[in-house]
């Protein structure tokens, strides 16, 4: 079985009850209002995402229990959804979740090299978290930016048109707390011809 934090079927506990923050509670109200009254359980996916955002980018057993309580649905049903989708992490990840695309277009353009560079720079193996808890590196399938490959996603941002050099700069910037340029690293707008 893959050791990808989003594809594991085992969940861990923090030992502390997960309580919705005020902002989350406001969002929940809005999200639930989108669904018909007796179909409020459909909100389980946005709520999982919300819980993950609030809980340092991973879903704990306590998150599941709180969501089940909020939506009045069985805990196992929430667990099923959380374990099905790879974007819900079932164990703690580093501050920056680095997802390297390895599907054919990116791979043809050298995604192996990007992976190797990232592993070397962050000093952590694939599916592992670095010692300083700054990075977790995972390999993923197509993220939908094929014409700008190779590319990676760090938390919510895409970084495209990568090579070994600019990848190293991105990682160094994160390490030093400096801002990064999001999107193409070669000055392309959107996916116009290179």
């Amino acid at each position: 079985m893959s050791n990808h934090p989003g594809l594991s079927n085992t969940f861990s506990s923090t030992g502390e009850k997960f309580v919705w923050s005020k902002d989350s509670l406001n969002s929940i109200k809005m999200i639930i209002s989108r669904y018909p009254k007796d179909r409020h359980q459909s909100a389980v996916m946005p709520l999982l995402y919300l819980a993950q955002e609030q809980n340092n980018n991973w879903i704990s057993i306590e998150c599941i229990e709180t969501i089940a309580e909020t939506l009045n649905m069985p805990k196992i049903r929430v667990t099923e959804v959380a374990s099905f989708y790879s974007m819900y992490n079932t164990r703690p990840v580093g501050k920056n979740l680095v997802q390297v695309c390895r599907t054919s277009p990116c791979w043809l353009r050298g995604s192996n090299k990007i992976t190797n560079t990232i592993c070397k720079e962050t000093k952590c193996q694939i599916n592992e978290t670095s010692g300083d808890n700054l990075f977790t590196v995972v390999e993923v399938e197509c993220l939908g930016a094929c014409s700008n490959g190779p590319m990676i996603q760090i938390n919510n941002d895409f970084f495209e048109d990568l090579d070994e050099e600019n990848t190293k700069i991105i990682i160094d910037n994160i390490k030093n707390g400096k801002p990064n340029k999001i999107g193409s690293q070669k000055g392309r707008r959107s996916s116009e011809n290179a």
Partner: protein, 678 residues
């Protein structure tokens, strides 16, 4: 109402007319074509994920899974072409990719759907050379054993837990190759019906823990019998080898238990052989000592010559035994046999103490009132039917203790007078088919009949009782009770509680499996215990006579609806146990009383002559609803409900002695039976 008009279709070029709401698979079954399947089950929702039921449909470019496909006018279905066969073979090859080749050590071997169907659709050797997947086994409690590598992800168990048992605790985690069936955090399943997932599992992934590695299906002798551990009378099949019962499984009976049985009857059979009374005992020098039949019968004969005996009938006693007891006790006078040791309230006819709504009609109700009863632990099958009604949109109200059930109930309060609560009256007036279920213990301490008459009046008023139905139900959890009351094993003054009997001049008490004999009110009596399990009742008795268990003799039990059914013998009694009527005949001879029947069949014949209604097995005994009591002032007295059963897994003498049931109490109810030494 759904439109049930017929449409014309063709199956394998045979024309037929079927209900248009059916699926292709159901139509094929009507046409007599067998469709292989793993995930489809007619009691569960349709999932369509095993793909084994592929058929060819004219004008459809690809094979179609027949269980999910609705019928259409003029549809032509082919179930036996080359293409269908090849498709199913392909599906089977995929199913077998990750299925281990461990049939020789698998408990399902010999009765496995996958094994059977692989004989038709499987290849003789595998073309798969990659690594097979292995899955960790999951904990599902003390009853269900899991070998999850064998799982083919049909999700029958998940659907059963959610839709039938009403405990959404099972689920499928992950996806694709990583998909795994598990309970939430691997907790035990908390349902009283959890054992049924074992029968549902088409492979050997979920098997019985107590039956593990015990036997192969072809070694077992099948005996059809009846569940006597609650009053529903579920139909069971007992599998035994030589003189030992190895497992209990359900028999389908659409009128009662459908395809399910409770965990108690399925798993408490190890209790049949624990703490058995295998030889007569007699009290000498304050201690029970091993004796023999000659001595004990002689002592008992002498005792009975000069005493006034009282007979108590227990909860697991068949009708024939009850009849023999009644016949014997007539020699000593009247009013000396009693089965209502819990003071059950009864009135003038059968309808005053049975479950009047047929069990398979409960689900048609739109409003159910539970009064002083917990159907979940008293009768799990009836609870399932209430759950079905709930799923169909019925409102469930509860009066008495505020119990938690696996469906939503509206709690009205502790008093019976809550029936006249205005909000509730509004609901019951709107309801088309309301049902009241009263735990019979709720009326146990009734001081006058007025409350009962008021209930009848109330039921007439709100159309619970009409010419063609009677929805006022009395729920008693004991299997023997209805049968014993039918043949009149109770004192004449029905409304009097049992304790009144004790004021009369009895000095000897004969208990036929009733533990009530251990009660301190009998301390001054000479106590004789006829039974199969040594518990408190036998311990306190002066004379103990071994009798066979329900699996060791034939016997009729009348279920809570008033439906006589037969439990059959599957092996000889343990030790020197003798059937009760044989002992009573011997005593009659010694005392020179009449006891004509010489064989069990003759006894039964006599019983049928006196009570011809018992002869019609499987038919609900009809009894006209009594004349409506017109009570001007409906008055509901407050009753104090007695909890007849507090612990589902240990409700009777047999399950109390079962190791499996003890494990259930520890692991599922989380109640340690004994302090564990550190």
């Amino acid at each position: 109402m759904t439109d049930t008009s017929l449409i014309k279709i063709k199956i394998n070029n045979k024309e037929l007319e079927v209900d248009k709401n059916l699926t292709v698979m159901q139509a094929c079954e009507i046409a007599g074509e067998e469709i292989p399947r793993f995930c489809y089950h007619d009691k569960l929702s349709i999932a369509g994920n095993c793909r084994m039921c592929l058929v060819e449909i004219e004008k459809a470019p690809k094979l179609v899974s027949s269980c999910t496909m609705p019928l259409m006018e003029g549809m032509s279905v082919i179930t036996n072409s080359e293409k269908v066969n090849a498709g199913r073979k392909g599906v089977m090859e995929f199913l077998l990719i990750n299925h281990p080749l461990d049939c020789p050590i698998c408990d399902q071997g010999g009765e496995c759907d996958l094994q059977d169907q692989a004989m038709y659709y499987g290849f003789d050797k595998s073309r798969y050379s990659e690594n097979k997947r292995a899955v960790d086994n999951k904990n599902m409690g003390p009853l269900v054993n899991t070998i999850m590598t064998r799982c083919i992800h049909c999700t029958r168990c998940v659907r059963f837990a959610t839709e039938v048992a009403g405990v959404p605790e099972l689920g499928m985690l992950g996806r694709g190759e990583n998909a795994e069936i598990t309970t939430y955090l691997e907790n035990s399943i908390t349902s009283e019906l959890s054992g049924n997932v074992i029968d549902l599992c088409p492979v050997g992934a979920l098997t019985s823990k107590p039956y593990q590695f015990k036997a192969r299906p072809w070694e077992l002798k099948r005996t059809d019998s009846i569940d006597i551990f609650d009053s529903v009378g579920s139909n069971i099949r007992i599998d035994s080898r030589a003189e030992e019962i190895l497992r209990v499984t359900p028999r389908t009976n659409e009128d009662i238990n459908e395809e399910w049985i409770s965990d108690k009857v399925r798993f408490n059979y190890d209790g049949y052989y624990q703490q058995r009374i295998d030889t007569p005992y007699i009290r000498k020098n304050q201690r029970l000592q091993i004796s023999n039949w000659d001595e004990t019968v002689k002592v008992l004969t002498n005792k009975l010559k000069a005493s006034q005996p009282l007979a108590l009938i227990g909860e697991l006693v068949d009708v024939e035994t009850g009849y023999a007891v009644k016949k014997f006790m007539q020699n000593f006078g009247e009013d000396n046999v009693e089965c209502r040791t819990d003071n059950q309230f009864i009135h003038n006819n059968l309808n005053s103490f049975r479950f009047n709504t047929p069990i398979n009609k409960i689900e048609d109700s739109d409003l159910i009132v539970l009064i002083g009863t917990n159907p979940k632990i008293e009768t799990p099958i009836i609870n399932h039917k209430i759950f079905k009604a709930y799923n169909n949109g019925a409102q469930i109200f509860n009066i008495g203790e505020n119990i938690s059930l696996n469906y939503e109930t509206k709690y009205l309060g502790t008093k019976l007078s809550e029936l006249e609560n205005e909000k509730f009256l509004k609901n019951i007036k709107k309801s088309k088919n309301p049902i009241i279920i009263i735990g019979s213990s709720y009326l146990n301490n009734l001081k006058n009949v007025h409350t009962y008459k008021s209930l009848i009046s109330f039921s007439h008023q709100f159309k619970l009782i009409t010419k063609d139905k009677n929805n006022l139900n009395f729920l008693n959890p004991f299997a023997s009770r209805i049968g014993q009351l039918l043949i009149g094993n109770t004192t004449k003054n029905h409304c009097e509680p049992f304790t009144k009997l004790l004021n009369q001049k009895f000095d000897t008490v004969l208990s036929f499996g009733s533990e009530k004999i251990a009660d301190s009110s009998f301390d001054s009596y000479y106590r004789v215990y006829f039974g199969h399990h040594g518990d408190e009742g036998a311990m306190k008795s002066d004379l103990v006579l071994p009798t066979p268990l329900f699996t060791e003799k034939n016997g009729i039990f009348v279920n809570i609806e008033g439906r006589p059914q037969e439990a059959r013998k599957c092996h000889n009694p343990i030790g020197s146990g003798k059937e009760e009527w044989v002992i009573l005949k011997k005593l009659s001879q010694n005392l020179s009383y009449d006891f004509e029947p010489n064989t069990f069949d003759e006894l039964r014949e006599e019983l049928f002559k006196k009570h011809p209604k018992l002869f019609e097995f499987q038919e609900i005994i009809h009894e006209d609803s009594s004349e409506p009591f017109v009570v001007e002032d409906i008055l509901f007295e407050d009753c104090k409900p007695l909890k007849l059963i507090e612990n589902f897994y240990m409700s009777d003498i047999i399950s109390k002695n079962s190791v499996t049931m003890a494990k259930c109490v520890e692991e599922i109810l989380d109640k340690p039976l004994m302090e564990k030494s550190a």
